[in-house]
Symmetry: D3
Subunit: 61 residues, 6 copies
Amino acid sequence: MPYITVKMLEGRTEEQKKALVEKVTAAVSETTGAAEDKIVVFIEEMTKNHYGVAGKRLSDM
Amino acid sequence: MPYITVKMLEGRTEEQKKALVEKVTAAVSETTGAAEDKIVVFIEEMTKNHYGVAGKRLSDM
Amino acid sequence: MPYITVKMLEGRTEEQKKALVEKVTAAVSETTGAAEDKIVVFIEEMTKNHYGVAGKRLSDM
Amino acid sequence: MPYITVKMLEGRTEEQKKALVEKVTAAVSETTGAAEDKIVVFIEEMTKNHYGVAGKRLSDM
Amino acid sequence: MPYITVKMLEGRTEEQKKALVEKVTAAVSETTGAAEDKIVVFIEEMTKNHYGVAGKRLSDM
Amino acid sequence: MPYITVKMLEGRTEEQKKALVEKVTAAVSETTGAAEDKIVVFIEEMTKNHYGVAGKRLSDM
């Protein structure tokens, strides 16, 4: 605890996702006081045809 | 804002998903007063082996 | 099935939320072919101190 | 209703997932009083590169 | 890991929710092989005015 | 985009939650390349009677 879900478009590299988990965990620990070893991060990737803003899917823009 | 997540079985066509985002966005804007360009829609597709009702997965029915 | 989650700031009236469920259900049925009586809608309300954009909570803007 | 989401690492067999839906549905029905035929179970599988604990992704451990 | 979310209408007693966590954890452990001490359960309660089926909120039925 | 959900026990101060949104947004921007003004953070607070680990709710420990 805490549990962080990062929902974003697919396309980041493995290096970026590695750094994302590390830095988000540090930011959460620093600001909430939770120990880093208790923090869980889930990454959920979206495809452009399953993500819409202002009534249009990014795949239709 | 608002953020709409549509969780449904896989199998709809791209045309259906395009229309889904459009019409759901319009329905949310019309009823909540939120501007269409602020509304976000996520589509999350399920497979039959990961969706159970009444104790059975649809893939086991 | 499908299952729709609408995540939005608190503050809409009960009338707006009633219409929201009705119209979103119709929009999903019309575009996906799912029968209305199978469609489920969840409303999740947020408070301004629990919703941040561009690094700031709406309660801090 | 109720709606149960099971989020876990990929890798279980179809037999395990079949039994999971069955037993979780029974457990929820027994303890909440909800009828089994009203209970819905979603399975969401994660990959090791999208799941981090203590600042590290399982794929980086 | 695994992480279980139980989304249900408000109204169960504390005793029911205590038993729910216990029995769901046992069911998940038994069927997935995950150790009980690694299993996390979240309960999310809904109110009738935020839960709609077939286009109607339960509070409007 | 990206959309970050932080699920944690209730009890942090408003100052902590303000800093949480700020630092998590910076961490996500730095590692994914997404512009800060596109990043959204949701905070979801849990109560101890709705959060269980190893078969026990924190309120029963």
